[in-house]
């Protein structure tokens, strides 16, 4: 269910197997405009982080000490909206080829959490959520598709609102 007061923020980070302008990543880079356009037009899409270039976030590095670490940060109306885009659109084509372009990270490399509608999460905030998941596992403050947590319930009429 879409929530009007809270939106779902999602971050994933990935270490690329070669430079963005090299042959290993060429297939990934070539598909980026199409996949980003698909996200922008997907039902329930709210916002995604872009760099100064304005097209995508590939020039951002969430870790100053890691030149190969990319970040993808977006906001959706619901877990289902994000899930439909991730697994039930052409995005799945890219996802199924992830190991041609990205290292498998041993630790959690993605996180979801609820933000008040209108709030645009920062890179630092997103990295904190991943750190939270790595330290404490799933919880309402940071979770994954495996165990989604419902949006916080506030400002509801007193008694019987369920």
């Amino acid at each position: 269910m879409a929530d009007t007061e809270f939106h779902l923020a999602q971050v994933n980070i990935g270490r690329i197997l070669g430079p963005l302008d090299g042959p290993v990543l060429a297939g990934f880079v070539a598909q980026l405009p199409e996949i980003n356009a698909l996200a922008d037009g997907a039902p329930g899409f709210v916002w995604r982080l872009v760099d100064d270039g304005g097209a995508d976030s590939t020039s951002l590095r969430p870790d100053d000490h890691d030149d190969m670490l990319l970040i993808n940060l977006s906001v959706w109306e619901s877990v289902q909206a994000l899930k439909d885009f991730t697994y039930r659109s052409d995005h799945l084509k890219v996802l199924s080829r992830r190991r041609e372009w990205f290292e498998r990270l041993a630790e959690h490399h993605q996180a979801m959490w609820w933000v008040p509608a209108g709030h645009l999460p920062t890179t630092a905030e997103a990295m904190q959520r991943i750190a939270l998941l790595r330290r404490h596992g799933d919880g309402p403050e940071a979770f994954t598709f495996r165990e989604p947590h419902p949006a916080p319930r506030t400002n509801l009429p007193t008694t019987t609102a369920v």
Partner: protein, 220 residues
């Protein structure tokens, strides 16, 4: 014998009646379209009321589900009552005598492959398994996919697959299992009769298998 197994045996027993079984098979084969009583009766060659009786028994057993649609597409007064249509019920049933749990093994193995990041190794193993299965004397691709339970149907020039044979595993490990499934189907094609002109791609709809296929010859 546990109660879950009893329940599965009860549903399977409902299919013991040969007329009922043919009705069930007609409804399943028509997917993704739902089937009305008239259509089912005609396909099996029995009266409408006998078909209605058996179809409703299949609903009671949880094997079919009912949906109401106006067949004519008309709405408003004069459009008539919506027709009672049948389609396969959601949910999976598995029966093994004696009990076997290949599913739980598949889950553990998929988890290991996922954690180790072995997507590409899995895809190449699946492609090889597909190639071995048809190995130059497979039937045509549509028949091969039907025999494997994919329930293929033409959607204009694309051959879509109504059933995902790996559904619960694919829901838990979509990137891994959908990529594996595509590689398996790509492996099957060259050994199929007339399979050279075919291509497969990930092209998911809201339901069903995420692979669709195209033939150079177009829809057959």
């Amino acid at each position: 014998m546990n109660s879950g197994e009893d329940e599965v045996l009860d549903s399977v027993a409902v299919l013991g009646d040969p007329v009922r079984r043919r009705l069930y098979q007609e409804v399943v084969a028509a997917a993704p379209a739902a089937v009305g009583r008239d259509g089912a009766a005609a396909a099996v060659g029995i009266s409408r009321s006998l078909a209605a009786f058996h179809l409703d028994r299949l609903v009671e057993a949880g094997l079919l589900a009912v949906t109401y649609q106006r067949l004519s597409g008309r709405t408003g007064p004069g459009a008539g009552r919506p027709a009672k249509l049948y389609q396969r019920a959601p949910g999976e049933r598995e029966l093994s005598l004696p009990p076997r749990s290949y599913d739980s093994v598949a889950r553990v193995l998929a988890d290991v492959v996922d954690r180790a990041g072995l997507d590409l190794e899995l895809q190449s193993a699946a492609r090889e398994a597909g190639a071995r299965a048809t190995a130059g004397d497979g039937p045509d691709p549509v028949t091969e996919l039907r025999e494997r339970g994919y329930e293929p149907y033409w959607d204009e020039s694309a051959l879509r697959l109504h059933n995902c044979p790996f559904r619960s595993l694919a829901e838990e490990f979509p990137a891994l299992i959908c990529g594996m499934n595509l590689a398996l189907i790509e492996g099957l094609l060259p050994g199929c009769a007339g399979g050279e002109g075919w291509t497969a791609a990930l092209d998911p709809l809201p339901e069903g298998c995420c692979v669709s296929l195209r033939s150079e010859a177009g829809a057959l």
